[in-house]
Subunit: 307 residues, 2 copies
Amino acid sequence: MKVTVLGSSSALPTSERYPSAHVLNAHERFFLIDCGEGTQMQMRKNKIRFGKINHIFISHLHGDHVFGLYGLLSTFSLMGRKSPLHLFAPENFQSILKSHLIDFDIHLSYDIDFVPLSGKNPLQILNNKYITVTSFPLKHRIPAFGFIFREKLTDRNIKKESIVKFQIPVVRIPAIKKGEDFVTSEGIIIKNDDITLPPPEPLSYAYCSDTKYFKKLSSFVKGVSLLYHEATFDGTKEELAKVTGHSTTLDAAKIALEAEAGGLLIGHFSARYKDISYLVNEAKTIFPRTFAAIDGKSFDVGNIDNA
Amino acid sequence: MKVTVLGSSSALPTSERYPSAHVLNAHERFFLIDCGEGTQMQMRKNKIRFGKINHIFISHLHGDHVFGLYGLLSTFSLMGRKSPLHLFAPENFQSILKSHLIDFDIHLSYDIDFVPLSGKNPLQILNNKYITVTSFPLKHRIPAFGFIFREKLTDRNIKKESIVKFQIPVVRIPAIKKGEDFVTSEGIIIKNDDITLPPPEPLSYAYCSDTKYFKKLSSFVKGVSLLYHEATFDGTKEELAKVTGHSTTLDAAKIALEAEAGGLLIGHFSARYKDISYLVNEAKTIFPRTFAAIDGKSFDVGNIDNA
């Protein structure tokens, strides 16, 4: 799992920081999370293929998280897309999008499978062979949702030398990968542990933006491999953060600490901060494994140091 | 007068070419013409101050000419803008914008003075101390409008040495600048031509996008100093251009020739063209003073060679 930051600004973009958008690559399946203005240009710059995007997740309906969507949907269509697009967004966006397509006389070349987000509890919104995605409520000025992407536990890996040594027939391999022991033609039981290796630990990536600090949030992302959490303000702006429904660097770090996250990625920086290293260092006082979201930078979800 | 290109792509932006947007600087008054996705980021990159923009002109309601407007309007508001914004756009955009602001619960900090564009004839839509702007119909798949910005003829310049020589009282100077002769205290008539110099030739800039070729267009932009004309396709794609309501390089050059334009700027290039020098050379076979719109490049309207 690898996440690429396409935009790290808050509401006011700067010349270096575009509005929010992340692309998560999970086993060469690409998930676009938020779609601020300019996302399609950032995708091109970062060589993310448009045809690879089948799922888009919109956290909430503030412009800096969604105004790139209209252009991207049109571009998909101009490129002749046929495969349906799965769009997860706050429920009221369905009618807004419908009106938009009518207003601009846009006839998309593909279907949109709209999945409405609502409610006050975590909800599994996607479940396929490789991954599950759960949405959960954030606390912002308007309904807002976070997302956690979890890899599924894959099969155990059978040791090649065991296949030869115990003459394991091909037909038995799938069951052994699922954890079954092997019984030889002489009736000897070979323990699964002796002929297989455990699969890699499943990774997970959580996206929390926009939100103010609330303790329960850490339970929604408990044990996540990499937590992205907004940090619009520095630690001295706690009051401003509360009033505007945002977080400080310290809020983000507290959530990472409470959730026992593997790493913390902060972003959604206010345009007032030219140099964001100060923000990172501030978060590190609480949660040392903190990194800054930077436009165009990719992070290894399982090992954020590999940025 | 100076025009800065913020976007030169057609519907599909590339990593180098953003969708349509031009900024015309006329005597330090800034006019934004079209507002494709990413315009606000391009403005920042090109150091165009947001507070300087009081007039926005939208040629037509295709996304690549307007999808940057929503973000820009929000940004103006977040920056605390108070002065009204004059927005010139096809008439049906008024209700679309109204719905958009309601849908996203946006309360702008400033008023929008909406000027609807419609009709089949040129119409003067702005007239202030320095400039007039006239809209005229284009021929595209949907209602589309071009714009011509004309400097006003300024007063004649009085020669400093004449003031001394003929002892011209200060109170007489405004009338002399308007062209009156001067009568000395001895009753001698001094011809205006002898004591003044003519003002600089007023410049004009025309923006024509999107449109297919139609002969009458050249009459709308007759004698313009610098013509921007879309050239989505190369000269071999005449049929495709007609069907899609666009122009080829040769169409654009023909309009420039027929209009006796001072220079031609082509843009709105299809994403299929990586190297646009071929397109410029093609147009030059008909109209030698042709230049390519390139993102971030500025052109002197009175002397396009000064790019």
